[in-house]
């Protein structure tokens, strides 16, 4: 007890442990960005990686997440080397598959968490050297072009059609994908989507128009 009190006296900052303050300190320690890191920053960086292959945006994500993924790895795997392998596997996947992140579905860190959990699951299964074929992606589809179940009728034919359409949607720019998915799969209104993605209504409308033009063109070609 005494010791704790002494500590408190010598380090007054211990009293300011509000969430906002903690975030601020963390951002400083990460050395990636002297400002506060907001969840929306993470999503923007991830989208810049997807759309422009931005090395700058990726480096910021990497510096923020790498130490945290390593902490998780140290708790779930058996060695420092494996924890580092988890960091590498997870963040390499983020670099290569950032275009599969769907901002309308959730926070960037949620997506990165699911990538990390799946990589960790597969690493643990590999260590057991079992011959079975179960892979994390089958249990928790994260990287595959996801088939939305919300509005899709449960007939096999419809599912196949939806998957084929997903293939085309997947080739649109990320921003347009988000609009198409939001409207046709999640049944959001244009206004709701504008609020969710935090962009003006006009932008949503023009993204939708561009996306539909492109889809019509591609599906037309496929039918030829």
């Amino acid at each position: 007890m005494m010791r704790q009190d002494q500590n408190r006296m010598t380090s007054p900052t211990i009293r300011y442990t509000g969430a906002t303050y903690a975030y601020h300190i963390r951002a400083l320690m990460d050395d990636s960005n002297p400002e506060m890191i907001e969840p929306s920053h993470l999503a923007q960086w991830l989208q810049r990686v997807a759309e422009e292959r931005s090395a700058d945006a990726y480096s910021r994500l990497f510096r923020y997440f790498a130490p945290r993924i390593r902490s998780y790895g140290l708790r779930h795997l058996y060695s420092e080397a494996q924890a580092m392998e988890l960091v590498q596997n997870t963040l390499l996947t983020v670099w290569q598959k950032a275009h599969l992140y769907q901002p309308e579905k959730g926070a960037a860190s949620t997506w990165i968490y699911t990538v990390m959990r799946n990589q960790c699951f597969d690493m643990l299964r590999r260590q057991m050297a079992s011959k079975e074929q179960l892979v994390a992606e089958d249990l928790w589809p994260v990287l595959e072009q996801q088939v939305e179940t919300d509005l899709v009728a449960d007939t096999g034919e419809n599912q196949v059609l939806t998957r084929q359409l997903e293939h085309y949607i997947h080739r649109l720019p990320v921003a347009q994908q988000a609009v198409v998915r939001g409207i046709y799969l999640q049944d959001l209104t244009l206004q709701e989507l504008a609020e969710r993605l935090d962009v003006p209504l006009g932008t949503i409308k023009s993204r939708l128009r561009l996306a539909l033009e492109k889809l019509r063109e591609q599906i037309g070609h496929a039918d030829d």
């Binding site: 960091v87 670099w95 089958d138 249990l139």
Partner: protein, 224 residues
């Protein structure tokens, strides 16, 4: 879509989201989510919360050497993005012929199929190659209309996920998507008026408790 009445409990959903649930049970939860939007949303919320806890906390363990991190970052930035997204064909789910219908199999099973069936009366069983460390065994069961499993008792747990058809026991009626977990010394005698196809996990041999089927107790492993 028919109403799903039997769901995994919150602890199971939570263990599934963290990746700590036994793989054979994770397969069942994952398959259930394909039928049940409500549980799928809960899992997504759990993942978002886990991401907040695990990826926004302070990193633990020894601080990373800045050089190691920097080297990994540079190495990843040199890696080209994967050019082609997963082929649409590969994301197509397998179907199983059952009573003249094509039943779309859950994603979680797709790398575990095809299977070979063993028949005993109106019940056919196909063991799935999920080698569990806890000794539990996963199978597909196909029961013909009017068939049933004689009254039996479970020593451990029995998980049943209905994939098609329906099933009744003294506790209720089950249809595609229903998730049923029985624990402990529990005896029941499921019957299936229209036949059913289900995924099951048993963690110990069943014991038949009545009549001639007791002869099977010696090799009750046929159902286990």
């Amino acid at each position: 879509m028919p109403m799903i009445n039997h769901h995994p409990d919150p602890q199971l959903l939570s263990a599934f989201a963290t990746g700590t649930l036994a793989p054979s049970l994770s397969v069942a939860v994952s398959a259930h989510l394909e039928f049940c939007d409500c549980c799928a949303r809960q899992v997504h919320q759990l993942e978002a919360r886990l991401a907040d806890t695990l990826l926004h906390g302070e990193p633990t363990g020894h601080p990373l050497m800045a050089d190691d991190l920097e080297a990994m970052l540079q190495q990843i930035l040199q890696t080209p993005p994967t050019a082609s997204p997963e082929d649409v064909m590969s994301s197509r789910l397998p179907v199983l012929d059952w009573q003249g219908q094509e039943i779309l199999m859950p994603r979680a099973l797709r790398h575990l199929l095809p299977v070979s069936w063993q028949r005993m009366g109106k019940v056919a069983r196909a063991r799935l190659a999920l080698n569990e460390v806890d000794g539990s065994r996963a199978s597909l069961l196909a029961i013909e209309p009017g068939g049933g499993v004689p009254v039996h008792q479970h020593v451990g747990y029995e998980l049943t996920l209905l994939l098609a058809g329906n099933m009744l026991d003294e506790h209720g009626c089950y249809q595609a998507g229903d998730f049923l977990l029985l624990q402990g010394a529990h005896s029941h005698a499921p019957v299936t008026p229209d036949g059913c196809l289900c995924y099951t996990v048993l963690d110990a041999p069943v014991q038949f408790t009545r009549g001639l089927p007791r002869l099977l107790n010696g090799f009750g492993s046929l159902l286990y």
